[in-house]
Symmetry: C2
Subunit: 201 residues, 2 copies
DNA sequence: TCTCGATGTATCGTCTCGATACATCGGGAC
DNA sequence: GTCCCGATGTATCGAGACGATACATCGAGA
């Protein structure tokens, strides 16, 4: 998830880690934000994988491994996406399997970068997410019906509120899908019955 | 959080790990459930701390550390809360500081065990949670106002939906608080102006 | 001048998760 | 009867996320 988000942000312009973090929490809908303990290791991994490059070669690479922690003068590092990174991003952007929407966090990031996503992929992701959340809703409903008599008022309230939230999310997704469909028929008049292929696993 | 939930469940009756997990996801409102990778280490920690006891002494304790993984016959383990564990639970149940409500997960567990919680503590936790969520809401509002013009339709939708969710949570909490207040005045007629003490840090 | 908050990079220990392995048991298919 | 499957049940592994923390720079205002 972090990898996708970082590539997406750097796709727009090079950035510092700090700036990356700020943009990230804004893009994520303002609720969850990423910690440095996740961000910097992720950047390191991606740098090692060749997906991003830094403007400043690491001075410690020349020093012995047991050198002191290099106090003083710690330079800013600007991260830039590489050609490989762009390729990777477009590969990820095309994925429509369950991994794209089963996790709410990743789905949020996918949505935030929908402007880089093909219309049919957008639709498949939204529909997949709706299926996932609908399944959650059914589970919740069953649980509520099963335990209704056995649990106290507070647990009941918790379950009721959870169910309502999930319900609202389904409706929200349905509206997005509706809008998406209207737009797609407006742009591209259908040449016949659509042979909608099932998403790859 | 796990510690609190486990103590709360075992407070009612002894249980297997498996049963614990099922009850846990039901109590948590059916949405998030705990994985074994969290549950068993937590049980081990709590056993080491003397908060819970097992009905079956670990046979591997007698074997050398490098013995083979003990294939075959792995007995069921029933966990029981100890006197120390009950003490710890009542200690935790009385906490009203930010640690009780800043994290949504822990707050959910606290709510699920409200029947073991004093009325004034319940009220303080609900009000604390509302303050926390209200702060989140203000942050979200500010973010939305700030980025309104600069982001695309999808990000906007994400933020809008997030804001609505937080808003609904505030209203839900307000209803719970309202109910709680009505109940408390019904049970205990106030003997004068209430000297509401600030919660300890 | 002094301090404070924003900007900025980085690591540590602790915890959590998803995946997986392995074992037992009851019940339905055949 | 037996064979297989899903529920029950205990347990560990590696990847990685998190909160806390350390350290450094810089501009604004007391």
């Amino acid at each position: 998830m972090l990898e996708f988000a970082i590539l997406g942000l750097l796709h727009q312009s090079p950035m510092h880690g700090y700036e990356l973090r700020k943009q990230l929490s804004e893009v994520l809908g303002g609720l969850r934000s990423i910690s440095y303990g996740s961000l910097y290791p992720a950047l390191k991994r991606m740098h090692a994988a060749g997906l991003i490059s830094t403007d400043e070669p690491d001075p410690r690479a020349l020093l012995p491994a047991d050198a002191p922690p290099l106090t003083g003068r710690r330079g800013k590092v600007v991260y830039t996406i590489t050609a490989e990174g762009k390729e990777r991003f477009h590969e990820l952007v095309g994925q429509t399997g369950p991994e794209a929407y089963d996790d709410g966090g990743l789905f949020g990031v996918r949505l935030a970068f929908f402007r880089h996503t093909e219309a049919d992929v957008r639709l498949r992701i939204l529909e997949g997410r709706r299926r996932t959340v609908e399944r959650q809703r059914e589970g919740l409903r069953a649980s509520l019906a099963r335990t209704r008599e056995r649990v106290d008022r507070y647990t009941l309230e918790l379950q009721r509120h959870g169910l309502e939230s999930v319900d609202r999310e389904v409706r929200w997704l349905s509206e997005l899908i509706e809008t998406e469909r209207r737009q797609s028929v407006a742009e591209e008049p259908p040449p016949g019955p659509r042979p909608s292929a099932p998403p790859p696993p």
